[in-house]
Amino acid sequence: MPGMTDLAHIRNFSIVAHIDHGKSTLADRLIQMTGTVAERDMKDQLLDSMDIERERGITIKANTVRIEYPAKDGQTYILNLIDTPGHVDFAYEVSRSMRAVEGSLLVVDASQGVEAQTLANVYQAIDAGHEIVPVLNKIDLPAADPDRVKEQIEDVIGLDAQDAVLISAKSGYGIPDVLEAIVHRLPPPKGDAEAPLKAMLVDSWYDPYLGVVVMVRVIDGRLRKGDRIRMMQTGAVYGVDRLAVLKPAMVDIAELGPGEIGVLTASIKQVRDTRVGDTITHERRQAAAALPGFKPSVPVVFCGLFPVDAADFEALRDAIEKLALNDASFTAEMETSAALGFGFRCGFLGLLHLEVVRERLEREFDLDLITTAPSVVYRLHMKDGTMKELHNPADMPDPTYIDHIEEPRIKATILVPDSYLGDVLKLCQDRRGIQLNLTYAGNRAMVEYDLPLNEVVFDFYDRLKSVTKGYASFDYQITGYREDNLVKMTILVNGEPVDALSMMVHRDRAEMRGRAMCEKLKELIPRHMFQIPIQAAIGGKVIARETISALRKDVTAKCYGGDVTRKKKLLEKQKEGKKKMRQFGKVEIPQTAFIQALKMDA
């Protein structure tokens, strides 16, 4: 079993890139060209292991791979690549991963240029003190314009891009130059092998065979199999059962020294028992201080998940428990809705995280789900001086007891071709945005806005995409809470409140949102044998109203001896279809109406 490697022969790095700019393809090439994985085992985009990640071309969980590279200087280097999550929802995971390595490759599509996500992640890399090597990918495309993109990198990010490595990850062109750049332009890690153990918990996940697997980066000291280790935040003590490096398959190793990255298992039951960013030390000989900057990840977007078929509730519970094993940032509490029956109120790091979890539940566990409108966490400052967090508009207390309400705000960064700038500014303005900054790089504008998160979770992505024909890129970070005039809007169908449709809105936007919801429901709820009023109300005051007129005609004109069989089947089918209806007083609302009404697009 190999032992630890000396610091001078280690390079730890991550890859920063926008979705589609070729991060995963580059990672695959590095693995392939160094023979880390036999050719026949090579699957495209090896590091993105989940189906959804592969389909969407995004990385959700940090993955890592250890590459042995015989460099042109005759020495063999150990290159540890940590593949960081590419999306803002996982910003905290990104920042932890970044702190586990010393350098980054900044991959930019030579035809598309810098995007908003690239910016957020590259600033994280800069904050983490990384040495950064710009890499221009897809230079074999006819639209590639490396000089323009180099300029853009210098203008927008402020990095020297003159020595950028030009590659085509797809064809393999330039990959050897990337490997050499990693060795010669990125710094080796620092650390003291004789000091008490100090290692960072970079990531953890649940493996059905091994249990919880923990990824660590050793800062100081040595970590060996059989060691008794302590998690400094949680205080929990474990024995290391297994120590390995990822190539990317697990290969056992006797010890990990400073600068090295590997994984361990230690009979840890749940991913929840491990906290990304925690410091691992020895039980006996402890590190003097934990690594700085630990913060637990906190869900910021909440929604209800309900099974379409009430009979699937137990299956949903099992599925959520299984998912939670592997995703500590996702929370779930049982919820009951008059409209939707039994389900769960779930918390997510952001909208993408929500989408990914929902898709995994539907796909991996074969569930049909109804997702209620996403909501953010409001802070209710009560008149008695206490503060309550509101995760679900249905739980809103009597407003007379509330002094004021605060909502989370974000700083949004949008990069857009300047021809669409006007539309983007209008969209942000309509969403109660406050412009912070507006700069140009070539014909692209970068605009920063202070926006309420609740306006963004509603349908902001979709609107932004549609007004810019897909050319805008968007990223955000939560900046804090601010007081505003927020109210709970209730939807009443035939006089009955429909809990699943109530939402928190800004008072100034309530009429518009209420009207939109009523109009949508008018289209979605089928006519009944009586007239149905649909109302949006704040407290007792109706702010929008639509009426579904009574059904006038539902009758078969001709029905004789030869028609009975067919007619019977038709009526039975209708009767069967009623199972997919939810009863609201006298009104039956189809499941599909909820799904449609709660869709984020307005």
Partner: protein, 386 residues
Amino acid sequence: MKHDAETTRFGLYVHWPFCTSKCPYCDFNSHVAAEVDMGRWLAAYQAEIARVAAATGPRVLSTIFFGGGTPSLMSADLVAAVITAARAAWTPANDLEITLEANPGSVEAGRFRDFRAAGVNRVSLGVQALDDAALRRLGRTHGTAEALAAVITAQDTFERVSIDMIYARQDQTPADWINELRRALALGTGHLSLYQLTIEDGTVFAARRTRGLLPGLPDDDRAAEMFDATQALCESAGIPAYEISNHARAGEECRHNLVYWRGQEYAGIGPGAHGRLNLPSGRSATEAIRAPGAWLYAVERRMSGEASCTLLSARDIAVERMLMGLRLHEGLTLAAIPTELRPSEAIIAELVDSGLLFDEPGRLRITPSGRLLTDRITAMLLPEPT
């Protein structure tokens, strides 16, 4: 309630699958054929009547109905021979009703006497419209004047005459329809079938509508208005509805169709014909092979044109009883439905409170204001799916 005692009524339906042309709204089992060998068809009908009679055993035959297709294209000899075979297979009732569906064309009118001689005592004329442009749009080959003449000839020839009309057509206003209906009522037939135009899947009209080529159809609200006007007008003319689309002077109801709506027994002979037979094994649904050639071949070679014969469950029977019975103004008695399959008191009460069902203990009967919602009401009253 006289009709409830009449559960033993037995009718025979004979399907003639051919037409000279196919109408764009029609989803019936009809085919256009250049020439038909009447002799082969007669032999096949005779064989089928004998086969079914062997299965049913002795019955009093109350009605015979020649439907199609266009049964007025059958030769009078063929019609006569089928009637003879039926009368021989079962015991004919004294007031045996024999209906033939006919096109109101001049050629057919010329043959009415022969059909009468063959034993037909009631005709149902497919007038459909009293407007030449509308008739062309409906794909009919006859004209208004021709149809009016055919109705008069039929009235001179047969004891009972019914006419079929189609309304809620493209670009038809309620005023247009009332005017047209007045003229139809003025013809003085004892029975009218007044159907709202329904675009059935698989028809030429359905294809046209999908491509947006069927503009000007009235919406449901407009169609409902036309329906209400129809009821009012027919009632004041003394020819009220007794079923959703069927109107008759007292005693002029189509006895054959009542057999269907009252859940009684009927044999179906001919391609695609359906039957409901009370066999020793229980009430069964029969269906004949649909394609005319295949049916004929099967009858000749295999001695049976039957495609399926399915024993109905108590639930099936109850569902059929309700969905047919609720179409009738007389409704149906709850006694016809096994206790466990009856609608709950709560649902009945809800419908009564909404004014959609009459408050008559032991009987399910839809009110005039509920008639246009009959399908919806029926769905509520049906037993829960198993």
